[in-house]
Amino acid sequence: MSMPSLPLFLSQLFNGLATGLLLSLISAGLTIIYGTLGVLNLAHGALFMVGAYAGFLALQWTGSFVLAIIGGMIGALVVGLLMERVIVRYYYQRPPEDQILVTFGIGIVITELVRLVFGGIAKPVPVPSWGQGITKLGSLIYPTYRIEMMAIIAVALLGLYVLLYRTRIGMIVRAGIEDSLMVNMLGINVYRVFLLVFGVGAMTAGFAGILNAPILAVTPDMGESFLVMSFVVIVIGGVGSFPGAIVGGIIAGEIISLTSMFSSAYSHVMLFAIMAVLLAVRPQGLFGIEGRE
C-alpha cells in the first residue's frame, strides 16, 4: 500500500466534504426531530425520496430546476405534515418502540405508493444548465454541479442555523429539545412546535433529495442507504444536537472518502467501526448530553 499523492488526497478530502455536507443536511433534520419529539423517524429516507420525485414532477411541468427544488421541498413537507397529523401525533404517549415501528411502517407505505405510481425504473433528473461541465479549483478538476451543490447545502445549513439560533421559534425548539414539558407550562403549544419541527425536518430531507437527484438515480429505494448513514452520523454527533449533525456528517463523509484512498472495499466499514468505538468510549456522541437516549 503506497502513500497516496497529494492531489489524490486533496481530491478525496473535497469529495468527503461533498458527501459529508449532504449527510449533515439529512441528519440535521433527523436529529432535531429525534431531540424534540423523541421520535426516531424511520420514514426520513422515504421523505428524502419523496423530495426527489416531487422535484422530478416539478421539473417535468416547469422545466426549471430551481422550481424543481422548491417543488421537492413542498412535496416532502406536505407528506411529512400529513404523516404527523394523521398518525404520528397519536403516538407521543406510546412506548418508543411503537413510535419507531409506526414511522418504519409509514416509510414502507410511502415507498410502495411511489413505486406503484412511478414504477421502479429510475427517473431522469438531469443536471441543470447552470451546473453543467467541470470547474477547476487549483489542481482539482471537479464537476460544477457538485461544487454548486455543496455551496447550496452550506447555505441551507446556515439557514437552519439562523432558524435555530437567531429566531424566536428556534429558541422554542431548542428549549423544547431540552424540556418540552416546561415549554408547555410557559404557555406555548408544544404540539404545534412538534408539527413545525417535523415539517422542517421533512422539508430538509426532501430538499436534500431533489438536490442530490442529478447525481444519484431517482428510484423508490434511493433513501434507504442515506437513512442508515444518518443514524451513524447521529450516533457520532449526539442526539438532538444540530452542531453534532454537521460535524458528524462531515466526519462521516471524510472517513468514507479518505478510507477509500487506501481500500475502497473498507470505506464504509471503517465508518461503522469508528461508530462502534465511539459507542463504547463516549456513548452520548461528540456533542450529546450524557444520559440522553
Binding site: M171, R174, A175, E178, N184, M185, L186, G187, N189, V190
Partner: protein, 232 residues
C-alpha cells in the same frame, strides 16, 4: 367567588394515592401556604393545577372556568403559572433568553427592565447560560419567569429548598413585596417559618388529607397542631 376553587380532587403519584378528596380555595390577592411533612401530596397538588399531572376526578375552577384536563399551555394562558420544585431552567439558553421565552406567549408581559428591578442579580447574569447559574440564581430566574408572564396566580413549589439562609432571606423579601402588591400565590414549603411569615392563610395536609385551615396567627396560638402535623 374565589379565584381558585378545588373540590374533592384525588391525585396519584404513580399509582400511589397521595391526595384524598382534597378541597381548598384561594381568593385573589391572597397568599396561601400548603404545609405538611410528606412532599409528594403537596407537590402533586400544584402539578395537578398546572395540568402537568392529571387529577383523577373532582373539580378545579380557575376564575370560574373548569380547568381540569386542560393541557398546561392553556392553563398558563389563563394566568396560572407553576414554578416547579426542580426549577427546570433551560440550561442551553441564557438568563435573558429564558425570560424572553417565558414572555413570548404572555398577553401582558412585563418588560425585562421591570423584572431586573425585582432581581438585580439576574441583570448582572443576563448573559450567563442556565447551567452556569447557582441554585439561588436559578430559583430567582424560575420565579422571574412566572412574573414576566404577569401571572394571575403563581404556584411556588418548595422555592426555598436547598438554598442558603441568606438567599432564603432575599427571596422572602421579594415574596413579601409581591404579596404587598397584591399578587396571588400558593406556596408549598417545608420551611414552616418562612412560609408562615409570608402567608395570609394556611392549609396543613397530612397523609393526603387536609387537617387544618386557618391563619398563621391562629396556628402560632396552637403549637400542638404544628407539632402534631409538621413537627415530630
Amino acid at each position: 367567588m374565589s379565584l381558585l376553587e378545588i373540590e374533592n380532587i384525588n391525585s396519584y403519584y404513580g399509582d400511589s394515592h397521595v391526595l384524598f378528596d382534597l378541597s381548598m380555595h384561594v381568593d385573589e390577592h391572597e397568599v396561601v401556604a400548603l404545609l405538611g411533612r410528606n412532599g409528594a401530596g403537596k407537590s402533586t397538588t400544584l402539578k395537578s393545577l398546572m395540568g402537568a399531572v392529571k387529577p383523577q376526578d373532582g373539580v378545579i375552577r380557575f376564575d370560574g372556568k373548569d380547568i381540569r384536563g386542560l393541557p398546561p399551555y392553556e392553563i398558563a394562558q389563563l394566568g396560572m403559572q407553576l414554578v416547579p420544585e426542580e426549577r427546570r431552567i433551560f440550561g442551553s439558553l441564557n438568563v435573558e433568553e429564558n425570560l424572553q421565552l417565558a414572555a413570548l406567549r404572555a398577553p401582558n408581559a412585563w418588560t425585562l427592565d421591570k423584572i431586573y428591578d425585582y432581581f438585580p442579580r439576574l441583570k448582572e447574569r443576563r448573559r450567563s447560560r442556565g447551567t452556569d447559574l447557582s441554585g439561588g440564581e436559578q430559583q430567582m430566574l424560575a420565579i422571574a419567569r412566572a412574573l414576566i408572564r404577569d401571572a394571575r396566580m403563581i404556584l411556588l413549589d418548595e422555592p426555598f429548598e436547598g438554598l442558603a439562609p441568606i438567599i432564603v432571606q432575599d427571596l422572602l423579601g421579594v415574596a413579601r413585596q409581591l404579596a404587598e402588591e397584591g399578587r396571588t400565590f400558593i406556596i408549598v414549603e417545608q420551611n414552616v417559618a418562612a412560609a408562615l411569615s409570608v402567608a395570609q392563610r394556611v392549609y396543613i395536609i397530612n397523609n393526603g388529607h387536609v387537617v387544618y385551615e386557618g391563619t398563621p396567627a391562629d396556628l402560632h396560638a396552637k403549637p400542638e397542631i404544628m407539632h402534631e402535623y409538621l413537627g415530630v
